[in-house]
């Protein structure tokens, strides 16, 4: 069988392209990511009301002490609805999850928790996104992994699914415990 060298060219080109894509996918390159300076640093301080009771003030010092997830959520965020059952399951498995209700309305948020069950050990009401800003939140949902010393170990953007939890996030959580 005779093969002309010229006809191999497209194949080589495509191969190079695929190598690039494969690399980009595996290394998780995100061309639009704004670098976050928070990972590995301490959770910033805050002083915000609880979602359930506006007179109860929650501070950083009150919540740290054991490993936990800090989940940014809102009722306007459709992916949060998608993520919610997963959080319920995690909470049932004994994972401590603190909710930050982000740029939302209290009534809507409370009704949501009533309708879809409440996976949060505590829920912080952050209507102006102050804490969200300090955390460098770019959207909802986002989840921060915080160890017992109050250090941010990891930040996950987007809804957590069972698969992602099993594949990668669980290991990060287990390391903190």
């Amino acid at each position: 069988m005779k093969i002309r060298p010229l006809v191999i060219l497209p194949l080589v080109f495509v191969f190079a392209l695929f190598a690039l894509f494969g690399y980009a996918l595996l290394s998780g390159v995100d061309p639009k990511e704004v670098p976050s300076a928070l990972t590995g640093k301490a959770l910033p301080g805050f002083q915000l009301a609880s979602l359930q009771d506006e007179n109860t003030v929650i501070t950083r010092e009150e919540i740290i002490g054991e490993p936990m997830l800090m989940n940014i959520w809102a009722t306007w965020c459709s992916s949060c609805k998608y993520e919610h059952p997963v959080l319920n399951a995690l909470s049932a498995d004994g994972v401590k999850i603190i909710g930050i209700n982000y740029k939302d309305e209290r009534d809507l948020a409370l009704k949501w928790l009533q309708d879809y069950a409440d996976p949060y050990a505590l829920d912080i009401y952050d209507p102006n996104g102050d804490l969200g800003f300090d955390l460098g939140v770019t959207g909802a949902p986002e989840t921060f992994f915080i160890d017992s010393k109050g250090q941010v170990q990891y930040r996950y953007q987007g809804p957590i699914t069972h698969e992602i939890w099993q594949q990668s996030l669980k290991a990060i959580y287990d390391e903190m415990v």
Binding site: V34, P35, S36, A37, L38, C77, S78, S79, Y82, K103, N128, G129, D130, G132, F133, G136, T138, G139, A140, P141, Q157, G158, P159
Partner: protein
């Protein structure tokens, strides 16, 4: 020269011409139109060139948005939690531009470290959407440049 030879020669010549022109064109066009991305920290460290269009990204610092009366000029600060830069923009801001929101500004730096933006892109607070949708929203934000 037999017709077949001649034909092949035409083919190869055309191909080579096309390719050469294309490569030169691409290199030429790229030289002026590549926008490098810098973080506020890099900019404040002097790593970013002035007099060249760059992109900078970060969060709009709460309380930093100041409008000038009687015009559309707006000043604000952008931070990556490590450094803060000043941005000046004359024009229409995207709908999603807000304090505490992620933002990408494209423009030139002056010697005092003030970034004069030609366009401001805001990031949106939604997740997990189909690409056509994300695309649409991004266009909406981009459009106001």
């Amino acid at each position: 020269m037999n017709p077949k030879r001649k034909q092949r020669l035409i083919l190869i010549l055309l191909g080579v011409c096309g390719l050469t022109v294309a490569v030169f064109l691409v290199i030429f066009a790229l030289r002026q139109n590549l926008n490098y991305f810098f973080t506020p920290l890099e900019i404040s460290n002097g790593a970013a060139p002035s007099e060249q269009v760059i992109r900078a990204g970060g969060m709009v610092l709460p309380g930093s948005i100041a409008r000038e009366d009687g015009s559309l000029v707006v000043n604000f600060k952008v931070t990556d939690y490590a450094a803060i830069i000043d941005v000046k923009y004359d024009g229409i801001l995207p709908d999603l531009f807000e304090e505490g929101q992620g933002v990408v500004v494209i423009g030139k730096l002056d010697d005092n470290g003030l970034l004069t933006a030609d366009s401001v892109l805001a990031k949106h607070d939604e997740t997990y959407m189909p690409p056509e949708v994300t695309h649409a929203l991004e266009q909406a934000e981009k459009a106001a440049k």
